[in-house]
């Protein structure tokens, strides 16, 4: 009987992993290493940083969730082709630190490819840390099935103290939807090789909410600002960035009509929703200026005065090119530091527009600059 109960206990432990993974406010990120590391020793030169929402390697595939498409699962060969193109782009940019959003590590929709490991094994980056924003055994909707997607920091140099910081869940959803929905996060890691004198060096990556219509985005940006302030007040350096899903101050805030799909109806009394989720940036007071505190306190790779210039736009819905000949029409992706970026080196890599619905932004950290 004792043996039977012990066996049953083992089954209970092994067979009862959560169906949907929920996270503590703070937890360890998942660590990665390239299977074959490139020779990279920091020699006090410049530090290049890039942020890129890679849209889990599906490029401009008309995915049902964020464009006017209705497809869910891309074929494996095309995903490998897209990921190879992303790896090639990262190799050309040759960044020391890469902040990624929307990376799949074990998802039905991308053939269960571990994209963090793939990029480490196919670029000159050696170390990585990963934080899930959506992890479930099975999402019973739209054929999504099993999913594990999130943010990742990749680096030429070893990462330590990698932390996943939970962001508040949306409050404009029913309980069932919220249970199966995204759990967005900030991922933060220390890079000891880049320590500057007595100042530790951190990389911080975020993907803020896109579709919330309540004040969730404010909560996310506030938490982000607080996380950065903690590093700054400790006297340490950070480079940070990500997909903030927020437009710069002074930007157009209403993209509902340009994002509208066939059969949609917005801005009319008959419309089911007056604004399209994810296309409207005035859901609460102050949202158009939500990035003000970041611009005011830290150095932005792309100055706020230039942020709305067409050469710095970073995002367009994946089907916008086919529908309206729009490759990108807003800026959602940013890089900041509490140090200094080199003046002329920041770039929005718009040539990569076919590889995702977001474009990479890169900048060079001015070592020793104050």
């Amino acid at each position: 009987m004792e043996k039977f109960l012990s066996s049953l206990g083992v089954l209970l432990i092994l067979g009862c992993d959560p169906f949907v993974t929920e996270f503590e406010d703070s937890s360890d990120a998942v660590m990665y290493e390239a299977n074959s590391k490139s020779d990279a020793t920091y020699d006090s030169g410049t530090i290049k940083v890039v942020t890129w929402n890679i849209r889990f390697g599906i490029a401009r595939f008309p995915f049902f969730g964020d464009s006017c498409g209705d497809d869910v699962i891309l074929d494996d060969a095309t995903i490998v082709e897209n990921m190879a193109a992303i790896a090639d782009s990262l190799n050309v940019i040759d960044a020391d630190i890469v902040l990624l959003q929307e990376v799949d590590v074990s998802s039905k929709r991308t053939g269960y490819m571990d994209q963090v490991q793939y990029l480490l094994d196919n670029t000159n980056l050696n170390y990585g840390c990963y934080a899930s924003m959506w992890k479930a055994d099975f999402i019973p909707s739209d054929g999504i099935g099993r999913i594990d997607a999130g943010n990742a920091i990749l680096s030429k140099y070893k990462l330590t103290d990698a932390e996943r910081i939970q962001l508040r869940l949306r409050t404009d959803q029913d309980g069932l939807t919220q249970y199966f929905y995204l759990r967005r996060n900030i991922v933060k890691a220390k890079i000891p090789a880049l320590t500057q004198g007595s100042k530790d060096f951190y990389a911080v990556d975020i993907h803020a909410t896109a579709f919330a219509t309540d004040d969730t985005k404010k909560q996310h940006i506030d938490k982000y600002v607080k996380t950065l302030a903690e590093i700054h007040s400790s006297g340490d350096y950070f480079v940070t960035g990500g997909d903030l899903n927020s437009v710069p101050p002074g930007s157009v805030t209403d993209f509902c009509l340009s994002d509208m799909c066939d059969g949609d109806d917005y801005h009319t009394d008959q419309a089911e929703e007056y604004h399209k989720e994810g296309s409207y940036f005035e859901n609460f007071d102050g949202e158009p200026d939500i990035l003000g505190p970041l611009y005011e306190v830290y150095d932005s790779a792309i100055d706020s005065d230039d942020a709305n210039l067409s050469i710095h736009l970073t995002h367009g819905p994946s089907t916008s090119y086919e529908m309206n000949d729009i490759k990108y029409d807003r800026k959602l992706d940013y890089l900041f530091t509490n140090g200094i970026w080199e003046n002329t080196s920041s770039k929005t890599h718009q040539a990569a527009w076919e590889l995702s619905d977001h474009l990479p932004v890169s900048a060079v950290f001015n070592v020793g600059g104050e």
């Binding site: 049953l8 089954l11 209970l12 092994l14 067979g15 009862c16 992993d17 959560p18 169906f19 949907v20 049902f64 209705d70 497809d71 869910v72 699962i73 074929d75 494996d76 074990s106 039905k108 929709r109 053939g111 269960y112 055994d137 099975f138 019973p140 909707s141 739209d142 054929g143 999504i144 099935g145 099993r146 309980g175 069932l176 249970y179």
Partner: protein
């Protein structure tokens, strides 16, 4: 061929040993007795040598039919053969959709598919314990393009539908049943499903059920099912039934009824 037909006719005349509440074994239901449960199929003892079964709730979206036939005793074991046919296409196309309960991506249209299964069952009472061995072959036919991305990658389901993607599979199992008291018995089983040639080629299922027989016509079962195997995303195991939102396992509760036609 003549020998085969002769054997089949002779074999079909063999009267099997009958037993109540023993769907998993080589024993057939007594003639004109039916049994059904909330989750179990409707079974009917058509004759002393043939038993039919069908999942009535599933039937209209996933037509299915099973026949168990008694065979000559083999090596001291009561023996039976079992044949199953299932047409899962209507149900799979119902759940290949956008929105909630879209289990399969709407990108895919499932083609007509036919599943056939043949099993051999052997049962024997040894020292008060009913032992049943079974094994057989599963065939899955798809009459059209079946996209390999349309699989449902969850334990219990993946390998059952995997036969359509692999075209064939093998199953084998062992059931042990013992009466604990006059009204209570315990069933422990283990079933192995193999899909040779597929990367995710095995699934091992085990269940334990305690059943309380209120009468010959009603019983209640409780227990658990454990499944482990290799899946497209790697190895996995799960104790069932599992309630996702509560993140907990709960015991199986199954009610079964029976009657005998006069």
């Amino acid at each position: 061929m003549k020998k085969f037909i002769f054997y089949f006719i002779i074999a079909s005349l063999v009267f099997g040993e009958t037993k109540k509440w023993d769907a998993h074994s080589a024993y057939l239901l007594p003639q004109k007795r039916w049994e059904m449960g909330v989750f179990q199929p409707f079974r009917y003892g058509y004759s002393e040598s043939i038993e039919y079964s069908v999942h009535p709730l599933w039937f209209f979206v996933m037509p299915n039919f099973s026949l168990k036939k008694s065979q000559s005793d083999f090596a001291g074991f009561t023996s039976a053969s079992q044949y199953k046919i299932v047409y899962p296409t209507p149900f799979l196309n119902m759940i290949a959709k956008a929105g909630i309960m879209g289990i399969i991506a709407p990108d895919f249209q499932m083609p007509p598919m036919l599943g056939l299964s043949a099993s051999w069952l052997m049962s024997k009472n040894m020292a008060g314990v009913d032992l049943t061995l079974n094994g057989g072959l599963d065939l899955g036919f798809a009459f059209g393009d079946l996209d390999t991305r349309s699989t449902i990658d969850i334990p219990l389901v993946y390998h059952r539908l995997g036969v359509y993607y692999n075209n064939w599979g093998i199953h084998t199992g062992l059931d042990v049943q013992k009466n604990i008291s006059e009204k209570i018995d315990i069933l422990v089983d283990a079933d192995l499903r193999l899909l040779p040639g597929l990367k995710e080629n095995y699934s091992l299922e085990h269940k334990l059920l305690l059943s309380w027989h209120k009468s010959e016509n009603f019983r209640v079962l409780t227990g658990y099912k454990f499944v482990m195997g290799e899946y497209p995303y790697g190895p996995d195991m799960r104790l069932l039934p599992y309630i996702p939102m509560a993140e907990t396992w709960v015991p199986i509760i199954e009610l079964q009824w029976a009657r005998e036609k006069r």
